[in-house]
Amino acid sequence: MTEKHCIQSLLASSTHDMRNVLAVIRESTGLVQDMLRFGADVPNKERLLQALEEVQKQISKGALLTNSVDCLTKSTAEHGAGRCDGVRVAQAFCSMIARHAKAAHICCIATTAEQAVWFEHDALTVLQSLMSVFEQCTRAQAALCLEIRAARHEGTIGFYLTAEGEAAALEALASASGIQSAPPPWPAKLLPWREQGKQRFWLALKAYSA
């Protein structure tokens, strides 16, 4: 068993249990909400309901985060080694990096897509490439909004990145073509161009041409 398989197996088990934990909190909170709505007459009832609604919102956020972590476990376990949906990986990355991104004044948004874009590599490895880009963004120490979209482009697979923000951050990203911190088996290549006044990049995962 490799370290990766070990991590994925433990994450799969943990996310399953985390969903059960969230489910119990959701139903218990919901039961109190029901009791308040269906008749219990208590002081500050509206404030109590408002607070319980906030608990439900946080449960939904927790569930979303759990789904993102679960994405790491599915690519290998359910689709065979080395296959993942780039759309889901981009969404998972944005969800999981949100806390660090906020601290660095970076906003990461994954564009939604109806169809999967299959990458011939597992999610953990693809995430490492996105992480390399994110680290490059943080080095610029400037506010930046990064839109990420999994796509196919001229026979390669990868991510379209659209960056908006301070010039220093955009320049730092533009100068980072060929990110060397990306893991083998590729060096991820970040190719810059401008379109409609916006700075765009193509993060090519070149080793895995579609």
Binding site: N20, L22, A23, R26, E27, L31, A63, K74
Partner: protein, 123 residues
């Protein structure tokens, strides 16, 4: 007459509370904690709908679903799972299920599926 729901999940805290909430909304709920008990309960009194956890000790949710359908092919069965309702292909773990919902499921979502499964019948 209230629609009868068979609710099977080994997470006792979860399923007891969910059962209570469904009863508050007028459903007649029978709660069991494993797959074998679910089949026994369905044998005693056939429900209008079954809501079954996918992964349970003893007999899994999809095995329960198959056996329920062997007895009553049109019985709507909703699978609940902590494993993720859809994989990367957008498929449900069991195509025979009326719906497959990931925990923690919002009650409104579950109620909507129950009503759809019962053909729009309101309790």
């Amino acid at each position: 007459m209230a629609s009868a729901i068979l609710l099977a999940d080994d997470e006792k805290d979860f399923v007891d509370t969910l059962g209570e909430r469904l009863e508050l909304r007028g459903y007649a709920v029978r709660v069991v904690y494993d797959g074998i008990s679910a089949l026994a309960a369905a044998q005693e009194a056939l429900p209008d709908i079954a809501i079954v956890d996918w992964l349970m000790p003893g007999k899994s949710g999809d095995a329960v679903l198959h056996e329920l359908h062997a007895r009553q092919p049109h019985l709507p069965v909703i699978l609940l799972t902590g494993h993720g309702a859809r994989d990367d292909h957008g498929c449900t773990p069991c195509a025979e299920a009326f719906a497959c919902l990931t925990k923690p499921v919002a009650l409104d979502t579950l109620l909507e599926q129950i009503q759809l499964a019962l053909g729009g019948v309101q309790v």
